[in-house]
Every structure is written in structure tokens, then in C-alpha cells.
Symmetry: C2
Subunit: 259 residues, 2 copies
């Protein structure tokens, strides 16, 4: 069973010290696991190491988690949720800043991209952990442990598919032809093509001349939107909105759970 | 020091059993290391395990490799080189098949993409190993071990930059404006945006409905080329060339070193 920290936190907390202590422990486990993974990769630590880090006996610890896989899946889901919160938060802040009543779908895509880029730069371990199920040479998670991670990943992708549908139906992309499979393909392209470039960040710091990632990323965004027939004034307006609110984008708590 | 298996192999092999045995041992180490990495990831084995697999005493083994990092770097470089060979080989075969005398830069980009896609599908461990320096949450290689891998990666990227320059100067992309930084950005986009989508292959097999990768990949290629202003007839001709020679693309030895 995968613990859903957020759901527990947002639910009404029953009175009593025990429930609160339990939530605190789960949050501590999350932070400590992330720290261990970033310092020693996925394989370089044991459940006992983690139990010690959070001050629990192995026996007490096993009441929370039965396996490393559960822990890794829980941390991955937490990172995904933080990312979704940061995205919503940033949209809100950018809207407030611009005093606009709504945001075009194209602007939403650019805000999401900016938030994801920040995560990859400021919290490279979280970013790598998020993509680990995709990139590891061996399967990190069993089918059972992967299930809730898949669900969260698909939920994120679906959100992007909706935005693509919205952009197409609002006439912000040229022609209104196409169906939802086009929107789904575009969502996958938007998320995973950018992810491919964002992965270069760490290597880029070590290999001079590899790539100017921010520039290549911006080109990629413009190229995709251009190929989808974005109306020029819609793109210009969205870029202007993002660039007028750099602080609003820079302050959102991508790393809200970082200890 | 990183051993360069290929250079040793292509150099004149001195007479004598010892030199030949040495090359055979290096090739065996390469295969065994790849097998261990695919079965147990990067951390789940020791130098002693690998020595045992290839039938050497630890002492004899240390004469070949001083660290796991050296081994991993050597395997990565071998995969990169195999990929480059497969690309050249495929171009040759597609040209022979079509009885054309040359290939347009756009067709070369599509052949390269097809070869890379095959690697990701048919040899997912090799593909993951290739992208490991990019995607691991911790640094897999020290600066010293990374250096030759960087060199090989940059050489590959430079090859793509040349093709982008060629396409631009030949008027296959619209306008001939732009400089080499544009070509370099396009090379990075072409390689790493597609890599981002290719990484989904393994996860896609486990999560129903995640994405139709082949279709999303083809859209991504068309979208990028379209945004770069590819001439319609050039793209159509290149697609026709690739599609008329599926067997030529399917037979190249991407996994030439696979045991």
C-alpha cells in the first residue's frame, strides 16, 4: 500500500497526538528518503538506514512502509503533486500580477514549462527522481508500486491534453480540425520533449559547449507552437505575460516539501 | 584511463596470442558489464562480480580496469560508437536500396531518428545506459571518467549540427539566414527532444494509454522540421525514401556488440 501523505494532510485531522505524530513522521520519511536518494542514488541505502535517519526502530518503521519501493513511489508522487501545486500557484500569481481575469491555453503551457524548468534547475534530485521510472536501466518499481505513480502521471498528462483541446477549440491553434488523439500527442510532445532537454541541465554544467538549454528550450516551445499553428498575437501576448511576471514565477514553492 | 576498445581493434593487431587475448577479454568485459548493469542496475554489482563473470582473478582484472567508473564509461562509449556505426551503415543500405547517389540532410535526420528509435525499443538497457549520465539522480561518473564520454557525446551532437547547417545552406529549410548557434540549438532539439519521448517506451508498456510513442515521435519530427521551414517536397521525398526501405533500416547492427 502506498501512503498518500497529501490526502491524509488535507483530510480532517482527528484530535489526538498520535494522528499528528503519524503525519509528521510520514513527512519526515519523505524528506529523509529524498535526501538518501540524492546522496546515494536508489540502491545505496536500506530501509534500516532510513529508519535510523527518522529516529524509528526498524519494527516501528515497518508499520509505515513495507518496502523501499513503497517509499520511492510515495516520494515520486509527492514530487508530482508539489509540481502540480506549484503550477496552479504560479498561474494564480501571474494572473494577479497582470490583473487579467483569465489566461489563454498557450500562456498556461508556457507557465507549466517555466515551472518544470525551475524544478530541473533548483531541485535536480527531485527532477531526476520524477523521471526515474522512465529512465532507469532496470525497473525501479514493481507493478503494484508503479500503479499509483502511473495514475498521477496520467492525471498530469490529461491536464495537458485538456489545455491542447482548449487551445484548438478556441482557435488559438490554426484550424479547429483534429480530434483528441491529436491533443494527446501534443500533450506528450510538450511534456516529454521538453523533459528530454531539461535532463541536460546537470550534464551541461559538466560538459562545456553541450547546449544552451534555456535557448534550445525556448526554440523548442516556439517551434512546436508554430507547427501547431499558434496565432502570432496569441503567442506574443503569452510570452509578454510570462516575461512581465518573472518574480511571480520565481517564487512559487516547487520545493515546498524540501527540508 | 578509459580503454578504447574500438581504437585497439581497428589498429593493426600485433602478432602474438597475448594481444589478441587482451582484445577478446576487453570485449568480454564489455558484454558482461552491460549484462550486469541491465540485470542489477549500476550499483548492484562489484568489480569482483564482473571479474568472476569473465573468468579473471581480481588481480588480473585490475590490470584492465581500475574502477567501476572506468568500466561504465567504456560501455557507454561503446554503445555510442555502435550507434554511430549503425547510423552510417543504415544510410549506406538505404542509399543502395534506392539506388540514389546521395541523401538529403532531412533524410539523414530521419534515418538517424529511426536508428535511435530502434535502439530504444530493441535494446532498452543500452539506450538507458546511454542516457544514464544525463538522467541519474546522482553523478554516475567522476569528471575524469566522464571526459571521454563527453567527447563522444559532443562528437555525435556536432555531426547533427553539421547536418542542420547543410540543410539550411542547401535551402531545404526556409530562409538561409541564421548562424551556427541556430544549427547547434536545432541539433540539441532534434536529439534530446526525441530522446525524451523515446524514454517513454519502457513505461509505456506498463502504463496503458500513456502515449502512442511512434505517432507522437513522427509528429514531433514533422513539427520541428515544419517550424524550421522544411520544403514540403523535401520532407515528402525523405519520408518516402525511409518508408521504401524498412528492411534496410531494420537490419542494421545497432546491437553489434551484444553477446
Amino acid at each position: 500500500m502506498i501512503y498518500d501523505i497529501r490526502r491524509e494532510q488535507s483530510a480532517t485531522i482527528p484530535d489526538g497526538v498520535r494522528a499528528q505524530r503519524r503525519l509528521q513522521t510520514l513527512a519526515k520519511v519523505n524528506d529523509a528518503a529524498l535526501r538518501l536518494i540524492s546522496q546515494r542514488s536508489v540502491d545505496g541505502w536500506t530501509m534500516a538506514d532510513l529508519a535510523r535517519d527518522v529516529g524509528l526502530t526498524p519494527g516501528a518503521f515497518y508499520r509505515y512502509f513495507q518496502s523501499k519501493e513503497e517509499i520511492i513511489a510515495t516520494v515520486q508522487i509527492t514530487v508530482l503533486r508539489d509540481l502540480m501545486s506549484a503550477w496552479r500557484w504560479s498561474e494564480q500569481r501571474v494572473l494577479e500580477h497582470s490583473q487579467a481575469s483569465h489566461m489563454t491555453p498557450v500562456a498556461r503551457l508556457l507557465v507549466a514549462a517555466a515551472v518544470y524548468q525551475r524544478l530541473s534547475v533548483e531541485s535536480p534530485h527531485r527532477f531526476a527522481l520524477l523521471t526515474m521510472s522512465i529512465t532507469s536501466p532496470t525497473d525501479v518499481l514493481s507493478d503494484e508500486a508503479l500503479a499509483p505513480v502511473s495514475e498521477a502521471t496520467l492525471a498530469l498528462l490529461t491536464r495537458f491534453t485538456w489545455i491542447m483541446t482548449d487551445a484548438r477549440r478556441s482557435g488559438h491553434f490554426h484550424g479547429e480540425q483534429g480530434d483528441e488523439s491529436v491533443d494527446h500527442d501534443r500533450a506528450a510532445q510538450w511534456v516529454f520533449a521538453q523533459q528530454g532537454l531539461l535532463q541536460l541541465h546537470r550534464l551541461n554544467q559538466r560538459i562545456p559547449g553541450l547546449a544552451d538549454i534555456s535557448r534550445a528550450l525556448r526554440s523548442l516551445q516556439d517551434d512546436l507552437l508554430c507547427a501547431w499553428g499558434v496565432r502570432t498575437e496569441v503567442l506574443a501576448e503569452a510570452r509578454k505575460l510570462i516575461e512581465s511576471a518573472p518574480d511571480e514565477l520565481a517564487q512559487e514553492p516547487v520545493s515546498v516539501a524540501q527540508s
